[in-house]
C-alpha cells in the first residue's frame, strides 16, 4: 500500500490548494508575503488554542474520559474562535499595511486590492490548517498497514484527505467573505462565518461516522463557495464567459499571432 495511499491522499488534500497557489499567488511577490504571514497568524492562533487545551487537560482529572472528551470539544471551539479572532487581527494588519503600500506607490493606489488580500489570506489559512490536520496522518499512511485492525473504517485516510480539501476551500471562502464583511461592517455575515466554522469543526466529532460529517461539510463548502463567489464580484456572466473561453482563446491566438513579428514569408 504505502506510497500509493500517500500520494493519492496528498494530491486529494492539497491538489486544489497547490493549483490555486501556483496560478494565483506564486506569480506575485506581495501575495506570497501575505500568504506566508497569514499562515503565521494561523499558527499563532493554534499555539494559543493548544496552550489553553493543554492547561485545561493538566488541571482536570485525566481518568474521567467524558470530561476529557468535553475538554476536547471545548478546545476545538476555542481554536475556531481564536482562528477567527486572528483572521480579524490579520485583516486589521493588512488594512494598515495597505495604507503604507499606497503611500509608497507613485499614483497613490495600493498595488493590491482588499479582495485579493482577502482571497490570499483565506488560502493561507486554508493551506496551513490543512497541513496541520493531515500531515501526521499522511506520515502514517506510508507504512504497510491500513486502518482497521480494531474494526475502524478502512476509508480513514481517504476521508481525512477529502476533509482536508474541504477545509482548504472553506478557509479560502471564509477569508473572502470575512474580509468583505469587515470592510462593509456586515456583522451578520461575520457571525455566519464564525457559526459555519464552528459547525464544520463540530461535525468532525461525528467522525467515525464519515458520511455524517463529510456530506454536510461539503454542502457547507459548496454554499460558502457560491456565497464567496458572488461576494468577490462573480456573476453568471463571468461563468458564461469563462465557459466560452475557447472563443476567447481563439481571439487570443489571433492576437498573439497578430503580434508576431512579420516573418520572412
Amino acid at each position: 500500500m504505502g506510497a500509493t495511499v500517500f500520494f493519492g491522499c496528498t494530491f486529494v488534500a492539497f491538489g486544489p490548494a497547490f493549483s490555486l497557489f501556483l496560478l494565483t499567488v506564486a506569480g506575485d511577490p506581495l501575495r506570497v508575503i501575505i500568504l506566508v504571514a497569514g499562515a503565521f497568524f494561523w499558527l499563532v492562533s493554534l499555539l494559543l488554542a493548544s496552550l489553553i487545551w493543554f492547561i485545561s487537560v493538566q488541571l482536570s482529572n485525566r481518568e474521567d474520559s467524558r470530561l476529557q472528551y468535553g475538554l476536547l470539544v471545548f478546545g476545538a471551539a476555542v481554536s475556531v474562535l481564536l482562528q477567527e479572532a486572528f483572521r480579524f487581527a490579520y485583516f486589521k494588519l493588512l488594512k494598515k499595511a495597505d495604507e503604507g503600500l499606497a503611500t509608497l506607490t507613485e499614483d497613490g493606489q495600493s498595488p493590491i486590492s482588499l479582495k485579493q488580500m482577502a482571497y490570499v489570506s483565506g488560502l493561507s489559512f486554508g493551506i496551513i490548517s490543512g497541513v496541520f490536520s493531515v500531515i501526521n496522518i499522511l506520515a502514517d499512511s506510508i507504512g504497510p498497514g491500513i486502518v482497521g485492525i480494531h474494526g475502524d473504517s478502512p476509508y480513514y485516510f481517504i476521508t481525512s484527505a477529502f476533509l482536508t480539501m474541504a477545509v482548504v476551500f472553506l478557509h479560502t471562502f471564509w477569508g473572502v467573505i470575512f474580509f468583505d464583511a469587515c470592510e462593509r461592517r456586515q456583522y451578520w455575515s461575520l457571525a455566519l462565518v464564525v457559526a459555519s466554522h464552528l459547525i464544520t469543526s463540530g461535525l468532525t466529532f461525528l467522525n467515525p461516522w464519515y458520511q455524517a460529517s463529510l456530506i454536510p461539510i461539503y454542502i457547507i463548502t459548496v454554499s460558502m463557495g457560491i456565497w464567496a463567489f458572488f461576494t468577490a464580484g462573480g456573476s453568471l456572466r463571468n461563468i458564461l464567459s469563462c465557459l466560452s473561453c475557447k472563443q476567447e482563446e481563439d481571439n487570443r491566438v489571433m492576437v498573439y499571432s497578430a503580434l508576431q513579428v512579420p516573418v520572412e514569408d
Binding site: 495511499v5 491522499c9 486590492s113 507504512g143 473572502v176 482563446e249
Partner: protein, 720 residues
C-alpha cells in the same frame, strides 16, 4: 552562569526571558507529544507485539547462524500453521504470498524448517511457545555440543573425536546452528498469540472454499543484522571502522562476560600462590542458550548444577576446621561454556600465561558438576577421561578421587556409579584443562551416555523440566522457601560433593556433619529459575544494583554486554553463602585499602543492602567479607586477534538497530484504486476550481479570467 546573569537582569528583560522560556517549553511539549509513541493514527493501524524474542545472527570463524530480516522489516500475510497439512497453503496453494507463518511450538522441527527455508513464499516466522513442552523433546542445539573445542581430536583419543563414541545430545536438531534468511520471532505471551490468531480468523480464514478477501491480516518483523559471513569478516570491518572512522559503527561484538570464582582458604590475588600449594577445582557452567536471543532458562543444563555447586560451597564453609585443611578448594563458575568453552578456555589461557594467581601445576584435581538434576533412581554417573587414565601417574589419583566420591555417598540418597573406563568425557569445562595438562578429574552427571535432558539448550529447559512443582496458592515469600523434591535431591548431591571435597582436601574429621541445606537450594532454584526479584536476592545485593532483579523468568545467556545478571547474582549468592559479615562502616567496606586491616589483600568486601526490617520500610545494610572474585571470560581468540581460530571460541553476536514485531491489516488493490480514483476525480474537478479562481480573480485587475481559463488544460496536461 545563568543565575549570575539573572542578578543583573532588568525587570523587563527578565519578563521577556520568562515568556521565551514558556514558549520554548510549550514548543517542546508539542514536539515531544508528536514524537512519542501513542500517536493515535499509528494505534489505529498497528498492534505492536511486545512480548517477543527474536532469533539473531551469531557468527564464528567460519559461519553465520541465526536469522535476519530486510532493512525495513519483512511483511507477509499471516497464516496459522497448527498441523503439518496447513503448510500446503503456505507453500503452494495460498494466493497471497509471501506468508508470515504463525507456527505452533510442536511443529518447530528441523524437517519443517528446512521446507520453509527452501521456499520463497515465506517472509518470516513467528513461533508460539508450546505449553506443555513438546512431549517428544526439543533441542535446537547440536548432537555433539562444542565439537572440536573439547579435548578429543585426532591427536588425543581419535576414536572419541566428533562424538564418534556417542552423540551426547541425540535430540539436538541443530536448528540454532542454521542460517535463515527470514526473521523468526518467539511469541512468549499466549495472549498476544491469541490476538494474532483472532486477527487471522477474522480476516484470513478461507471462507467455504473461496480464497480469503482483502483486507488481510499481516505481520511485520524487524530484525535486520549488521554483520555477515563470519567473525573474521565482521571483526575486520569493525576494526577498520574503529581505526579510521570518527564515528565507528561496529558490526559485531564478541560474546564475553566474567567467570566467578572463590577459594575456600583466602589467597592473595595480586601475586601467585606458592608452587607447592595444591588446589582442587570444582567447576560448573552458568550459561545456556536457545534458538532465540536472550531466551536461555537452562534449568537442567546450567542452573541445577551451579545451584548444587553453590550449596556444596556453603556446606564446606560451615565446617569448623576448614581453614586447617592441607589443600585449598577453588569454586569456579564458568560463563560462556555453551559457546565453545569461552570461560574455561580463558581461565586455562590465563593460568598458562601466568595472569592468574593459580597455575596449572597447582591443580591437584578437578571435579565438575555437569547436568545433575534428572537422575534415574538417584544414580549419579562418574565420568572420567580414558585417555589420561592410561597415564600411570594419573590413574591412581583418579581412582582416589572416585573412591572419595563413592565413600561420601554412603548413607546418602545418591548412588554414585562409574561409567565404563572406555567411555570419553561428556562436553565439559574439564576438557579444556585436559587440553593444557593431564589433570586427574571427574565429571558428575545424571546421564550415563546421552543426556537425560530432552530440552538441552532450548526455551523449554525451565523449572518444569527439572520437575520443580509448587503447591497452588503460595505467596511469593512462601514459594521462595518451599522445599521442593528437586531441591532436596540436589541438596543430597551437594552434600556428597562437599563431603568428597573435604576428604580430598585432606580433611580427617567426621564428614557426616557436612550437610547441604535444602532450604538454601530451594531459594536459589526459585531465584535463578522463577523470579530474581525475591526478598532473599534483594537482601544480598548492592543497593545500586536493584535493576538486575526482575519479575520475568531469569535468562542465562552470556550476551555481549559485560556482567550479565546471572554472573552478578552468582557472585552475590556465593559471597553471601561463603562469606562472613564483618563489622565495617560503609566507608571502610567500600575502601578497604584505607583501613589498617592486614587481611585486606586476601578478601573482597561487599556492602550489601540487607533485608527489610519487618517493623519499618528501611533496610539494614552490612559488609560481607568473602573470597569471591571475577575474572574475564572473553575468548583468548579476541585477545590474540585470531578471529579465525580453531583453538579458541570465536563466537560473536551481530549488532542491530531495530528489533520489533507488529500486526496490522493490508489493503486490497481495489482500495488502492479507490484512493487513486479520487485523485483522477480531483483532476476533473480542477476546472471548476479554476473557474472559481478565475472568476474570483475577475475582480482582480492583474489576472484576467480568460487567462486563468486558458491555463487549466495546460496545467492538467503537465500533471498527467
Amino acid at each position: 552562569m545563568a543565575a549570575g546573569a539573572g542578578w543583573r537582569m532588568g525587570a523587563g528583560e527578565r519578563g521577556r526571558r520568562g515568556a521565551e522560556t514558556l514558549f520554548r517549553g510549550l514548543l517542546f511539549c508539542v514536539l515531544g507529544c508528536g514524537f512519542c509513541w501513542g500517536n493515535s493514527v499509528e494505534r489505529k493501524i498497528y498492534i505492536p507485539l511486545n512480548k517477543t524474542a527474536p532469533c539473531v545472527r551469531l557468527l564464528n570463524a567460519t559461519h553465520q547462524i541465526g536469522c535476519q530480516s530486510s532493512m525495513n522489516g519483512d511483511t507477509g500475510v499471516i497464516h496459522v500453521v497448527e498441523k503439518a497439512q496447513d503448510l500446503k497453503w503456505v507453500l503452494t496453494d495460498g494466493p497471497h504470498p509471501p506468508y508470515m507463518v504463525l507456527l505452533d511450538g510442536e511443529l518447530f522441527t528441523r524437517e519443517l524448517m528446512l521446507q520453509l527455508k527452501g521456499s520463497s513464499r515465506i517472509s518470516g516466522l513467528a513461533v508460539a511457545i508450546s505449553k506443555p513442552s513438546p512431549a517428544q523433546g526439543f533441542s535446537p542445539g547440536l548432537k555433539c555440543p562444542n565439537d572440536g573445542f573439547g579435548v578429543y581430536s585426532n591427536d588425543y583419543g581419535p576414536q572419541y573425536a566428533h562424538c564418534n563414541w556417542t552423540a551426547w545430545n541425540p535430540l539436538g536438531n541443530g536448528l540454532a546452528y542454521e542460517d535463515f534468511n527470514f526473521p523468526i520471532f518467539l511469541l512468549e505471551d499466549a495472549n498476544e498469540t491469541q490476538v494474532i490468531k483472532q486477527c487471522y480468523q477474522d480476516h484470513n480464514l478461507p471462507q467455504n472454499g473461496s480464497v480469503p478477501e482483502y483486507p488481510l491480516c499481516a505481520m511485520q518483523l524487524f530484525a535486520h543484522m549488521h554483520a555477515v559471513t563470519n567473525t573474521v569478516t565482521c571483526m575486520r570491518r569493525s576494526s577498520l571502522q574503529t581505526a579510521f572512522s570518527l564515528n565507528p559503527e561496529e558490526v559485531c561484538d564478541a560474546l564475553s562476560d566474567y567467570n566467578v570464582w572463590s577459594t575456600l582458604k583466602p589467597i592473595n590475588t595480586s601475586s601467585k600462590i606458592n608452587p607447592l600449594d595444591e588446589v582442587i577445582i570444582v567447576a560448573t557452567r552458568i550459561d545456556s542458550h536457545s534458538f532465540f536471543w536472550n531466551v536461555a532458562p537452562g534449568a537442567e543444563s546450567a542452573v541445577a548444577s551451579f545451584v548444587t555447586h553453590l550449596a556444596a560451597a556453603e556446606a564446606l564453609h560451615k565446617v569448623p576446621d576448614v581453614q586447617m585443611l592441607p589443600r585449598n578448594i577453588m569454586f569456579t563458575f564458568f560463563q560462556g561454556e555453551t559457546f565453545d568453552y569461552i570461560g574455561s578456555s580463558r581461565m586455562v589461557y590465563d593460568m598458562k600465561m601466568d595472569k592468574f594467581p593459580i597455575r596449572l601445576d597447582n591443580i591437584h584435581s578437578f571435579l565438575e558438576l555437569s547436568q545433575v538434576a534428572l537422575r534415574n533412581s538417584s544414580v549419579l554417573w562418574v565420568h572420567t577421561d580414558p585417555v589420561s587414565r592410561r597415564n600411570d601417574s594419573i590413574q591412581p589419583q583418579v581412582e582416589t578421587l572416585v573412591e572419595a566420591l563413592i565413600n561420601s555417598s554412603v548413607g546418602a540418597n545418591v548412588t554414585l556409579q562409574e561409567v565404563g573406563q572406555s567411555q570419553p568425557l561428556p562436553p565439559s569445562s574439564f576438557q579444556r584443562f585436559l587440553r593444557a595438562k593431564s589433570i586427574p578429574g571427574v565429571v558428575l552427571a545424571d546421564h550415563r551416555t546421552s543426556f537425560q535432558n530432552r530440552y538441552y539448550q532450548s526455551m523449554y529447559d525451565t523449572a518444569e523440566n527439572i520437575l520443580m512443582k509448587y503447591p497452588e496458592g503460595l505467596s511469593p515469600e512462601e514459594t521462595l522457601d518451599y522445599v521442593t523434591d528437586t531441591a532436596k535431591s540436589l541438596a543430597e548431591v551437594a552434600t556428597v560433593v562437599a563431603r568428597a571435597l573435604y576428604q580430598l582436601a585432606g580433611g580427617t574429621g567426621n564428614t557426616s556433619a557436612i550437610q547441604a541445606d535444602p532450604r538454601t537450594v530451594s531459594r536459589m532454584l526459585y531465584g535463578f529459575l522463577i523470579k530474581t526479584n525475591n526478598s532473599w536476592f534483594q537482601s544480598i545485593i548492592k543497593q545500586d544494583l536493584k535493576g538486575l532483579l526482575g519479575d520475568e523468568l531469569p535468562q542465562h545467556y552470556i550476551a555481549v554486554t559485560t556482567l550479565v545478571n546471572t554472573t552478578q547474582l552468582v557472585q552475590y549468592v556465593l559471597a553471601n553463602l561463603t562469606g562472613t559479615v564483618v563489622n565495617f562502616t560503609k566507608e571502610e567496606c567500600l575502601n578497604p585499602e584505607k583501613t589498617p586491616n592486614p587481611e585486606k589483600e586476601m578478601y573482597v568486601y561487599t556492602w550489601v543492602q540487607g533485608s527489610r526490617d519487618p517493623n519499618s520500610t528501611s533496610r539494614v545494610p552490612f559488609c560481607v567479607q568473602s573470597t569471591v572474585h571475577l575474572t574475564k571470560a572473553a575468548s583468548p581468540a579476541f585477545e590474540l586477534k585470531q578471529w579465525g581460530s580453531t583453538e579458541y571460541s570465536t563466537w560473536t553476536e551481530s549488532r542491530w538497530k531495530d528489533i520489533r514485531a507488529r500486526i496490522f491489516l493490508i489493503a486490497s488493490k481495489e482500495l488502492e484504486d479507490m484512493v487513486q480514483l479520487p485523485f483522477l476525480l480531483d483532476l476533473m474537478l480542477q476546472p471548476t476550481v479554476f473557474t472559481l479562481a478565475g472568476t474570483t480573480d475577475s475582480a482582480l485587475p492583474s489576472l484576467q479570467e480568460d487567462e486563468a481559463c486558458w491555463r487549466i488544460p495546460l496545467f492538467q496536461a503537465s500533471l498527467l
